[in-house]
């Protein structure tokens, strides 16, 4: 894979995540009943940062959930190898909570579909909202994000690579060519 363009540098990436945090609090008129939930794998560090920003701004520690959607994927019998299954975790019941799903890149919508199914197996939230760092288009399902960091039109032959300090040692978003 060849890099075509650096879409976001570290500073812009940090700003984008901070803005997402602010919008989430604003739209929900506060932090009450919020559960920030990162979708494995890169949704998790983004969710952690959002929780931290909210803590800094509002002085409230919002519960952080981790969602592994592997077992809900619709392509399990066709992919090889099988993706590694990791546990999901919620610090509290999600019953009647507003769950904010956090993902790095919103593309076909299939990951979000799987996440919705997975989430509902844990209980009945009052509402589920979706925050995506990057929306690159090409939806295959009727799904859209409530909060979007950046909208970046792409070609299907392209790949968006989100790199984060926590998982990749640096912060940046790259546009790659397959």
């Amino acid at each position: 894979m060849k890099m075509k363009k650096r879409l976001l540098d570290g500073a812009r990436l940090a700003r984008t995540i901070r803005r997402l945090a602010i919008e989430i609090v604003e739209r929900n008129k506060g932090t009450e009943n919020l559960v920030i939930t990162g979708i494995r794998s890169r949704g998790v560090p983004i969710a952690e940062r959002i929780v931290k920003h909210i803590q800094e701004a509002e002085g409230v520690e919002v519960p952080l959930g981790i969602l592994d959607i592997t077992l809900y994927r619709d392509d399990l019998t066709t992919v090889a190898p099988q993706p590694l299954v990791k546990p999901s975790h919620f610090p509290c019941a999600i019953e009647n909570k507003t769950v904010i799903l956090i993902d790095d890149v919103l593309y076909t919508g299939r990951t979000v579909r799987a996440a919705l199914d997975a989430l509902i197996d844990y209980g009945r939230p009052r509402a589920i909202q979706l925050a995506a760092l990057i929306d690159r288009g090409h939806r295959e399902l009727p799904i859209h994000a409530d909060f979007t960091g950046q909208v970046i039109p792409t070609d299907r032959s392209e790949v968006i690579k989100v790199k984060l300090q926590e998982t990749d040692g640096e912060d940046e978003v790259l546009l790659m060519e397959k």
């Binding site: 077992l71 399990l76 019998t77 090889a80 099988q82 999901s88 997975a118 197996d121 844990y122």
Partner: protein, 315 residues
Amino acid sequence: MRSQATALRSKDLLGIEQLTPEEISLILDTAEGFREVSERPIKKVPTLRGQLVINLFMEASTRTRVSFEIAEKRLSADTLNFSASGSSVEKGETLIDTAENLMAMQPDMIVIRHKHPGSPKMLADLLPASIINAGDGAHEHPTQALLDAFTIRERLGRLSGVNVSIIGDIAHSRVVRSNIHLLTKMKANVTLASPPTLMPAEIEKMGVRVVHSLDEALEGADVVMMLRIQLERQSKMTFPSLREYFNTFGLTPERLRRANGGAIVMHPGPMNRGVEISSDVADGPCSVILDQVTNGVAVRMAVLYLLAGGHLQES
């Protein structure tokens, strides 16, 4: 050790002997992900929706069959139980004919328990479905060894360097063979103890230490694994009496003191209380016997999940 393998090489799980250490780690790591499923309010995921798993139990089994069935149901597979009694087998149908007839119903996986060694391999060579060995005679019982390893890792944090002593009817035990393969591959130290009449020929070539004294086996053990005395298979020529057996090889709290502090006691079940293990030990603080049962479901879910996916070509 974290897994480096990302998939199993075979379509089947016939035994631990064929697995690499990386594959073993992959199954154990995957099982950790699955344990959480059993703790949810809705203990079910849609992963194997639409897949048919046949449980072909040609020999009596309670815990293994139930454990597989729960694992299958929690993964949303369709399950069908087939046992020897009351079936075509009683009318003289051969195993191959039974299997080919079941295969005509297009199952994705067949879990087989059979009293003759090699029968899972026979099916695996013949059928396109994934075959999971749930115990074949005294040969292998891979998912039991995997759940034992999972339990040891959970309690002691590692397998490498752990001293595991396995005590009892070694000769007739499939559990011990799978455990020896697994534990030696994962660099644990294995000691076997039994009267010589219950110790099979040349087993030390499998990389284990063989002793004929319970106390010697317990000395320095981190894990004490007691095996069931298979009452139905003993004749008076293997040991003189149950009373004498318990006095020489039965595990009591007093004798357990020779093991290392924090040692755990395991048993694959079903137990004969007062034959190989006293109730004080079985129900005591060192016992992880019921954890083994709980972990069995997660391990079997992991195996079903890993075998259900696409398969890597062996290079």
